[in-house]
């Protein structure tokens, strides 16, 4: 977090998240709950997340299934209301009750692209209408001609042709559909884009095209990204800063190079070890143990302790809090107590 930002005037982050938490109450039968006298089970999808994203940068959020990264995306973008914590955009609280800066005025400035290219477009709408939907909603076009031109321009920007606007989504491949999604997302001139695993469902060569497009658009339009993925190599390629999540909590946040070269949290180290060795160096791997636990019933204390090679008694009992460690932020007792390496 103390990484000096070499950019224009502002050094305050575009997006900041403080103690962000989202709990889901799981309904079990009301009657059986009365009989067994059990409290309503709660799924803590994300718990106490804090990080910042500077303007023009990409923050990569990485983790396995059940870690809550998709929930983070949806809370930030407004699809869920947070249970606790604050979201700040350009330093202002994003809060329904604060009418000076309500969620509504944010809509055009914060957009999202999704993982599934097949479910992210309405199959009954023409592509030009799909892309025009945000423009119409925010009344950004002065006339129908202006709208047409804008849609054509957007299609060109994402590498498609203006005549593609007349077609329907099913006429396109997965990669092309993602381009259409991207065109829709940038049509309202947003500042901030949340990318929820946008290339996970694509073939490798198509993935490369889309990642290049995403990077190019960032350069050209000055976008800021929150990029979510489970693929470490992709996150490495595209991010400036990286956050690692496990069972709803942030384990480690660091600038990319530091995270990948000097990982501190045991889970980060374990994750990096699972990256396939495509250069066939034959490097030694540390054996990985255990499975990701059920998020509804997480382990006590530090959620990673059952799988961690550096567990001690404190880890079983007490949840670690994020603390600075060099240029990284790490939530780990072993790191805090200097017990690692």
């Amino acid at each position: 977090m103390t990484d000096p930002y070499q950019g224009p005037l502002t050094s305050s982050p575009l997006l900041e998240v403080r103690d962000l938490s989202k709990y889901f109450a799981l309904s079990s039968r009301w009657l059986s709950r009365i009989f067994t006298r059990q409290p309503r089970p709660v799924l803590k999808a994300i718990d106490g997340l804090s990080f910042q994203i500077l303007r023009g940068q990409t923050f990569g959020l990485v983790g396995e299934s059940g870690c809550g990264k998709s929930t983070v995306a949806r809370v930030i973008v407004g699809l869920y209301t947070p249970t606790r914590g604050e979201i700040l955009f350009e330093g202002q609280f994003v809060n329904q009750r604060n009418h000076r800066f309500s969620r509504a005025s944010l809509h055009s400035r914060m957009q999202m692209i999704f993982q599934d290219p097949y479910a992210s477009l309405d199959t009954r709408w023409r592509v030009r209408d799909i892309i025009a939907e945000p423009i119409r909603a925010f009344k950004l076009a002065q006339s129908r001609a202006a709208l047409r031109n804008r849609v054509a321009e957007l299609l060109l920007q994402v590498g498609l042709s203006p005549s593609d606007g007349e077609k329907y989504p099913h006429e396109f491949s997965g990669g092309q559909r993602q381009r259409i999604s991207i065109a829709r997302a940038i049509s309202s001139n947003p500042d901030f884009l949340v990318c929820d695993e946008p290339t996970s469902a694509l073939d490798v060569s198509v993935q490369a095209q889309i990642l290049n497009l995403i990077k190019e658009l960032q350069r050209r339009l000055g976008l800021t990204y929150l990029f979510i993925s489970h693929n470490l190599a992709v996150v490495h390629h595209i991010s400036d800063h990286v956050g690692v999540m496990y069972l709803g909590r942030l384990c480690e946040v660091a600038p990319k190079r530091i995270l990948f070269s000097q990982p501190q949290h045991p889970y980060t180290r374990m994750l990096l070890d699972t990256i396939p060795d495509l250069s066939l160096t034959g490097r030694k791997r540390q054996p990985v143990t255990g499975e990701v636990p059920n998020p509804i019933n997480p382990p006590s204390g530090c959620p990673f302790h059952p799988r961690c090679p550096a567990t001690n008694e404190r880890c079983r009992v007490e949840q670690p809090h994020p603390g600075a460690s060099g240029e990284s932020m790490v939530a780990c007792h072993a790191v805090e107590e200097n017990r690692l390496r």
Binding site: H107, Q111, S120, L121, W125, E133, A137, E166, H170
Partner: protein, 316 residues
């Protein structure tokens, strides 16, 4: 997965015809002789009904044109029959053929508009239930469940009866058809609501809906613009079969005497009238309307079956 024929280029009517002819749905249609026959039959019936006032040799609803002397004329191929009344006449001298054509008209009108009403109510309630959920969903679905325990005919009968007692006498004859449409329409909405609701529940979790919500589009616009077009498919198939069912219900109600007024007889009325004379020899008064009813309902049903099979992704 359907193989797309063309991209959406504008190319005029000929292009559109080629697109339709090329489409998989049309292909499966031409491969099914039964369906083609059913469609042809329905088309003939519909055509005849629309142009009935001009096509029929006689006007069965005009009491002045009836001649009691011509009552009980048998069909043309039986002794004593004439070409003037090809299918014979009933007890009041009405030409059976003309009455069947007008009766078809009533059946089709009632069937079509009743289903339209059901769909309107069902799709609206179902979409809101499925998309919004909450107490609205609970209440609507329990209502639907409750109504589904009662057979549609009884519901129609009930609504019809209530209408009769509330409407003043003079209006009853005029309003009969609207009451009929309303009662049959009300009887059938739950199934459309159910189907639409499950479709809406599936669609609302899809990312394109999330994308629309992120831009802040109003839920009503989301439902109308995104959800309804995507969930309507199965209801259209149900609707076709529903028309057949509605026609049967109308015929039943008319047969029971609580449908259309006897001066504007529908197929059901005719069947009832003819029933009294079935065993005294004048069989044609019942049999022909009955056959017409069966043919109409069967044709519509077969089209519905074909539609259902064509659009069933699992069967392809």
């Amino acid at each position: 997965m359907t193989i797309n024929s063309t991209s959406g280029r504008k190319g005029g009517f000929g292009h559109w015809v080629r697109q339709v002819a090329d489409h998989d749905v049309f292909y499966s249609f031409t491969r099914s002789p039964v369906t083609m026959l059913a469609a042809f039959t329905t088309f003939v019936i519909v055509f005849a009904s629309i142009f009935a006032p001009w096509l029929t040799p006689h006007d069965p609803f005009n009491p002045a044109s009836l001649d009691l002397m011509e009552a009980f004329t048998p069909p043309v191929w039986v002794e004593d029959g004439t070409w003037k009344y090809p299918l014979g006449t009933d007890d009041q001298g009405r030409d059976i053929l003309s009455t069947i054509m007008f009766g078809n008209r009533i059946s089709l009108i009632v069937g079509f508009f009743a289903v339209l009403l059901s769909m309107l109510i069902g799709i609206t309630l179902g979409t809101v239930s499925g998309y919004v959920g909450g107490w609205f969903d609970v209440v609507t679905m329990r209502l639907a469940d409750a109504q589904l325990t009662v057979p549609p005919i009884l519901i129609a009968l009930l609504v019809d009866g209530v209408a009769r007692t509330t409407l003043p006498r003079e209006l009853q004859e005029e309003m009969a058809i609207y009451v009929l449409i309303f009662s049959i329409g009300i009887a059938a909405w739950p199934q459309y609501a159910r189907v639409t609701r499950s479709g809406a529940m599936v669609e609302r979790n899809k990312e394109y809906i999330a994308a629309a919500r992120i831009i802040g589009i109003h839920p009503v616009r989301i439902m109308l613009g995104h959800i309804v077009p995507n969930v309507m498919g199965p209801t259209l198939v149900m609707a076709t079969i529903g028309v057949a069912l509605a026609i049967i219900i109308e015929a039943t109600l008319s047969f029971l005497g609580v449908g259309v007024p006897p001066t504007t007889p529908s197929l059901g009325t005719l069947i009832r009238i003819g029933n009294d004379f079935l065993f005294s020899g004048e069989w044609w008064i019942t049999i022909f309307p009955a056959v017409a009813l069966v043919v109409l309902v069967l044709s519509v049903n077969l089209i519905g079956d074909w539609l259902r099979d064509t659009f069933n992704p699992k069967l392809r």
